[in-house]
Amino acid sequence: MTMNQPQAHAITMPALSDTMSNGRLVKWTKKSGDEVKKGDVIAEVETDKAVMDVEAFQDGYLSGPLAGEGTEAPVGQTIGYITDNLADVSSVKSTAVEAARLPAGNGNAAAPSPVAQARVSAVLAASMASLRPSPLRDTGPATMRTSGEPAAPKIPLAAGGPRSAIEAGPPYRVERASSLREAVARNMIASAPTPSFRVTAQLALEPLLAAAQAQHYALSLLLARACALTIVAHPLFNAAYTPDGLARRDRVDIGIAIDNGEGLITPVLRDAARRPLDELAEDWTQLRDKAKSRRLAPADYSGATFYVSDLGVFSVVYAFDSIIPIGASAILSIGASGPQGAFCTLSCDHRVVFGADAARFLATLEQHLKDPAKLFAVETQQ
């Protein structure tokens, strides 16, 4: 301020208790133009608890504009002025009036100003943080190097990829996935480090189809049976990799992939190599119904030792392969049937089976598909 400007010290509504946010000006004990000494009582204010004196904090002259008696004002709002010189008393009008015109209840001037709100408050952030699943530690299995096959690269298991790639594109809205989709995502991420290879064969499915229609069994059921018997002849396909060694299971459980409209699910036929086909057929019917009505329990779809996935109904698909689920060492993917048969791709975990094993497996499977009679027998000798 330059020398020409009148020195005016604002009198503000004081905070007179720890819980006070507004005060009511009861009365001025001095008039505009009165001399005031530091410490003099110049007004009375009513707080939430009592009527208290307001003291002057400097020497000078009480000056208007003064807030009217009976006005309520928040703590910190200007209610009057003290000027250094008597001559200045009346001249401090315009700026004061503007300040005094601030409506009383506006923006809790006395209350602590809201924290420069980040998008989310600290309290809210702490609350949300606890709901996010923490990234799993990378416990990917140690890879076993075979000749020529490099170990699969380690893939971080945190859910979701980098956001920045998405943010660089068009606006988007994040939609919570269904629990099924989330479960599949978790399983696929777990499977990602498995070192795999694929062997494809073209296999004729007509004999099997004919047999299925003749005996009124589902094609999937017979496919599963065929694979089961093949596995019995090639037991390596029933083993699973563990860091301590191969886990050799003593029965064959086949998981058959089906689409329940919402996504992929794999009901499991237990002991598919040894049980009577009728029994298996009944199980299969029940499982399929459950899958349709979305009532498959974890016990129904977990723990398969081998998987079969058939997209043959889609004539456009001539071949495909699948990701090997954790717990199995191979999965058979069946494409649409052409005149020379369907392309069947066997995806294998290279820590358990080798190329030649896969080839031999497919050869045996071919036999079973050509001659389905054996599938109907109750017990097969190994």
Partner: protein, 333 residues
């Protein structure tokens, strides 16, 4: 017939009515007598009942609380006022090793009709040593009961019930509730002390809170209603025992749980509520129980930071909104 009273007035009436009805009821604490109480709760009682029944104590929290324990052993009904929960730390030996355990350790020979009244919580910039909540500490003590009235009516009812009870009961008040107003009916029949109250009905989520945050939750619910979100607000009224049935019944309806508390998050009261309701209602829940709690930080003096350390109404609204975001998994109502 009810009248509008301030929370502190309701407590004052409760004490007065109990002291008039039963000679063995007396109160003690710092400045409760001549001064009328730091929060005015004992105003006028000294003049009416005299110095033996309204006793000004020296600053000796552990021993005057222990005095209450001893007096309770011989059949009087002391109401100890500890000025704030921060000072209750000094009296924990008398409360936990004494009041909570004597009935048990004596093989049931002695009752402990002791009430300890104490306000807690964040007020306005009173700094770290005067701005904490310790209900989680008290909740974990077998043998104690804890009432947390959020309204003047509950303050009246629960203090009277606590005094009449033969168990050691902590009545947890809140500095910022003392000057809130509400209807108080002296003659209406009181609900059981530890039953929770549904303050507002709704179908979209259940907000569980207590003390001042039960009040804030109701404010948040009004805001949410404008956006079409129906929040059911439960005021627990008690932290030990907790009325799980009322909460569970609500979750059967809404399937979503938001717990709001002022206490620090880690091992706070909300942790027990979240754990137990998740155990009981897992199959009814569409989402994990969410806790909105104070930050794990001593309360800073700075006003803006202080306000940011505890859930405020906008936080509750935002959390509820997020919790209610529709997903394919939402069960049919």
């Amino acid at each position: 017939m009810s009248q509008e009273l301030l929370y502190w007035q309701a407590l004052n009436r409760a004490l007065d009515h109990e002291m008039a009805a039963d000679e063995s009821v007396f109160t003690l604490g710092e400045d409760v007598g001549l001064y009328g109480g730091s929060y005015r709760v004992t105003e006028g009682l000294y003049a009416k009942y005299g110095e033996w029944r309204v006793r000004d104590t020296p600053i000796s929290e552990n021993s005057f609380t222990g005095l209450g324990v001893g007096a309770a052993l011989v059949g009087t009904r002391p109401v100890v006022e500890i000025m704030t929960i921060n000072l209750m730390l000094l009296a924990l030996d008398s409360i936990i090793n004494g009041a909570a355990k004597i009935p048990f350790m004596s093989g049931g020979q002695f009752k402990m009709p002791l009430v300890v009244r104490v306000p807690g919580g964040i007020a306005r910039q009173l700094a770290a040593q005067h701005a904490q909540r310790l209900e989680h500490t008290l909740m974990n003590v077998p043998g104690l009961r804890i009432a947390v009235p959020a309204t003047p009516q509950d303050a009246y009812w629960q203090l009277r019930q606590a005094i009449q009870s033969d168990d050691p009961i902590i009545v947890l008040e809140h500095e910022l509730l003392y000057f809130t107003k509400g209807p108080v009916d002296f003659v209406a029949e009181a609900p059981p002390m530890h039953r929770a109250a549904v303050r507002r009905e709704g179908r979209d989520l259940t907000i569980v809170g207590y003390s001042r945050h039960a009040v804030l939750a109701q404010e948040a619910a009004s805001e949410l209603a404008k956006e079409g979100i129906g929040a059911e607000v439960i005021d627990l009224r008690s932290l030990k025992p907790i009325d799980w049935n009322t909460c569970a019944a609500s979750l059967e309806k809404t399937h979503r749980l938001l717990i709001v508390e002022e206490d620090c998050r880690f091992a706070g009261a909300g942790a027990e509520i979240a754990a137990t309701l998740t155990e009981r209602c897992f199959h009814s829940l569409d989402a994990p129980a969410q806790r909105l709690a104070g930050l794990d930080m001593p309360t800073p003096y700075n006003g803006a930071l202080e306000a940011a350390t505890i859930p405020q109404v906008p936080d509750i609204v935002a959390a509820a909104r997020e919790l209610c975001r529709p997903t394919p998994e939402t069960k049919a109502a």
